[in-house]
Amino acid sequence: AQTVTQSQPEMSVQEAETVTLSCTYDTSENNYYLFWYKQPPSRQMILVIRQEAYKQQNATENRFSVNFQKAAKSFSLKISDSQLGDTAMYFCAFSASYTGTASKLTFGTGTRLQVTL
């Protein structure tokens, strides 16, 4: 079984600054995917970014980037130029890479990010 750990329950950042959210995971799988999902107060679940474990290059999506350290089983999210709309709960999630079958997401406990003026 896999586990996902987010050790920062809450974080705060000023608008336009950079913040990094931490995530570690444990798995015996060789092929897997890692995700960051954002959950604003409306409680929707919005995909922020995805990393494929077999790719060494860190994923980026506009102001969002990850630092994926496979050996350390670490997957942090960096948000640059933070905006008020980034205020949300952020969940790190793991999915094994199975073809031809469904792959559940295993979520961490989340980090509540507050962006302030």
């Binding site: 995700f35 999630a93 073809t99 469904a102």
Partner: protein, 113 residues
């Protein structure tokens, strides 16, 4: 952009009653999921569904729960006899391949009285 839609957005039910939560996954998606999030807690996997059968279920998904794809578009979660601890936000998700990102609906808030 296609969306996963869930109805109702909020369901209030008396303890012991049956409830059905409905989801319409994205039309070309083949894999379907239900997750639960108790208020203030993390999102937990309930069940996955593919090719008209359950692929995997968690220990939460006991005999009180069932899923069904009654037609080509809907995917439902039924709780046969609700308990107070079933109060939570229930999310439906889908993807077109098992290892692709899952698209989530907006959730159904279930309140058991």
């Amino acid at each position: 952009e296609p969306e996963v839609t869930q109805t109702p957005s909020h369901q209030v039910t008396q303890m012991g009653q049956e409830v059905i939560l409905r989801c319409v996954p994205i039309s070309n998606h083949l894999y379907f999921y239900w997750y639960r999030q108790i208020l203030g807690q993390k999102v937990e996997f309930l069940v996955s569904f593919y090719n008209n059968e359950i692929s995997e279920k968690s220990e939460i998904f006991d005999d009180q729960f069932s899923v069904e794809r009654p037609d080509g578009s809907n995917f439902t979660l039924k709780i046969r006899s609700t308990k107070l601890e079933d109060s939570a936000m229930y999310f439906c998700a889908s993807n077109n391949r098992g290892n692709q990102p899952q698209h989530f609906g907006d959730g159904t808030r279930l309140s058991i009285l």
